[in-house]
């Protein structure tokens, strides 16, 4: 597989919640290759903003050759993306990073906040492989308002929590997993660091393997600049340091591989 960075046509763009947008762009090769947990790097059209914005792949339609992203307007770059309309073009590099390892038969997916989108393609991939909906548990943790919930219901058993209790159970994803006694043979998680810390601890105590997806500021996005490292539990065999590159070695790691 050779990498690419190319202008891609935007097929659709819509606002799905406060500050949260869903964008679909077309690129046959990327769609073909994309695996759950991977991400793409988007470039703005503003020449004063040089660095790529990493965004997880939320969904893929291999037939149509399209990729869906769901992202929060967090700053100037995502603001610009949200203003693009269908027919416009956006520069995309990808797919990047390693995705989730998906051999589980009873997966437990946990997404928090803007860590929720990548869980969708993951849930779908289990479902399409034939895992029963009842065996795919998805726990979504929102701040207050929900999004993507109906999309998840197509593939999985969905459980909802929110910080404010405005939707689903009041509390966080771990609270819910405990309360509802949800279990499985692999945990998959993406969300803010405090949540991932909770997941790591829970997985350790319950003795369930967990794969978690990390975030870090990136410059190259492909493993060359060492901007985006996280602390690894063991010494990296090449770098001889306790670091791993989120963009290249991750963004998905086994929970025990990394320190949070």
């Amino acid at each position: 597989m050779s990498k690419r960075k190319v202008p891609c046509e935007i097929i659709s763009q819509s606002k799905i919640s406060d500050d949260i947008f869903s964008m679909v762009f077309k690129n046959k090769e990327m769609a073909e290759e994309a695996r759950p947990g991977q991400f793409v790097a988007l470039y703005t059209a503003d020449p004063s903003k040089l660095l790529p914005r990493p965004i997880s792949i939320c969904d893929v339609n291999k037939q149509k050759g399209t990729i869906r992203l769901v992202y929060r307007v967090a700053g100037g770059g995502t603001k610009l993306f949200s203003e693009l309309k269908s027919g416009d073009r956006v520069e995309v590099m990808g797919p990047l990073g390693n995705g989730y390892v998906t051999y589980a038969e009873e997966p437990v997916l946990m997404g928090g906040g803007i860590g929720i989108p990548p869980m969708l393609y993951l849930a779908k991939s289990f479902y399409e492989r034939g895992v029963a909906k009842g065996n795919i548990n998805v726990i979504l943790g929102f701040r207050d308002k929900g999004f993507l919930i109906d999309d998840f219901k197509k593939y999985a058993t969905v459980h909802i929590t929110s910080d404010a209790g405005t939707i689903g159970m009041k509390g966080n994803v771990i609270d819910l997993v405990k309360q509802e006694n949800i279990t499985g043979d692999m945990i998959y998680a993406c969300g803010p660091t405090p949540m991932l810390k909770g997941v790591k601890k829970f997985a350790f105590l319950e003795d369930i393997p967990a794969q978690i997806s990390l975030e870090e500021k990136m410059a190259c996005g492909i493993g060359a600049c060492l901007a985006c490292v996280c602390k690894s539990a063991e010494t990296d065999e090449h770098f001889h340091t306790n670091t791993k590159r989120v963009c290249k070695d991750g963004p998905v790691f086994y929970a025990e591989e990394v320190e949070l």
Binding site: M1, S2, K3, R4, K5, Y43, P47, S48, K49, L50, L51, P52, M93, E216, K217, M218, A219, C220, G221, I222, G223, A224, C225, L226, A227, C228, V229, C230, H238, F239, H240, T241, N242, T243, K248
Partner: protein
């Protein structure tokens, strides 16, 4: 048309190399560009032993550029030889190894270890952040620069390029100190020290508080320094700082640079090196330029 240039007897097929630390040793970028097309690959900084680097966030975007405080994370010279130099061995390009250290001894150890390796040129980074002995002094104190240059030259088997820091009052003084110390060539500029504050979180944007600013934003400062240095000393200069287009590269060559390095621009466009090489050829063609000597230092 002949795009080749010579640095200390080493012929590069074109004047384009990459800025240390922005390109790894080329492995990752080789999925985008054919690195054999580069005049040279300049590797990320390597020390005598592995370095952990700084905590994250290590980078932040700035207007027209970026700031980094990677802190020279590197696997140490032994692993570097095993992996990076091995990868570069069969590539049809020159190899410039960027060397960093905490002390003169560290630098010398690396330089000696590289004696018999497939390395064409040594580039000595004397503007490391967090250096113990001598401190940042190597990069901003002419006497320290002069003496470390001498010590490295005494042991180096390959020609030595001293890489200058722009965070000084008078860059020509630094250039002269390095050349007096025996530097075979100079490269500049390294990054300008900067700071960014996240006003909403009330914290520094990079964990190290300060970082080095690079990218197109700093180009005018880099061109000025390259021009000054090329008019003050008589060794080849590798110019860098914000180069993103062939026009930028030619600007540095007209300012006096023999070769140029592309750094931050690789992050915006992984194909940029090939485009710049092609653009230089186009410019030469359009303007009937046979060799780059015709336009080097032309004003």
């Amino acid at each position: 048309m002949d795009t080749s240039v010579k640095i200390c007897g080493v012929e590069m097929k074109n004047p384009v190399t990459v800025a240390s630390g922005t390109f790894g040793s080329g492995l990752e970028f080789s999925e985008f560009v054919d690195i054999s097309k580069l005049g040279a690959v300049t590797t990320k900084g390597v020390a005598n032993i592995p370095w952990q680097g700084n905590p994250t966030p290590r980078i932040a975007e700035t207007y027209g550029g970026m700031m980094n405080a990677v802190g020279l994370q590197n696997p140490g010279i032994e692993e570097f030889i095993k992996t990076d130099l091995k990868f570069l061995k069969d590539k049809d390009t020159k190899v410039i190894v960027n060397v960093c250290g905490h002390s003169v001894k560290d630098y010398v150890e690396v330089v000696e270890r590289l004696s018999d390796e497939n390395v064409d040129l040594l580039e000595i980074n004397v503007s490391c952040p967090n250096v113990k002995e001598g401190g940042i002094a190597f990069g901003v104190d002419p006497e320290a620069l002069n003496s470390i240059t001498k010590e490295i030259k005494a042991k180096a088997k390959q020609p030595v390029i001293m890489k200058l820091s722009p965070n000084v009052t008078d860059i020509t003084e630094m250039a002269k100190a390095a050349v007096d110390g025996g530097a075979d060539a100079l490269s500049l500029i390294n990054t300008l020290t900067g700071m960014k504050i996240d006003i909403n979180r009330r914290c520094f944007a990079v964990a190290n508080k300060t970082g080095g600013v690079s990218g197109p934003a700093i180009k005018p400062i880099a061109v000025r320094m390259v021009y000054q240095v090329c008019h003050a000393v008589d060794v080849p200069v590798i110019g860098m700082g914000g180069i993103a287009t062939a026009e930028d590269a030619i600007e540095f060559i007209m300012a006096g640079a023999t070769a140029v390095s592309i750094g931050t621009a690789n992050f915006h466009d992984p194909y940029v090196t090939e485009k710049v090489i092609k653009g230089i050829e186009d410019f030469m063609g359009k303007n009937n330029i046979e060799t780059l000597d015709e336009i080097r230092k032309c004003l």
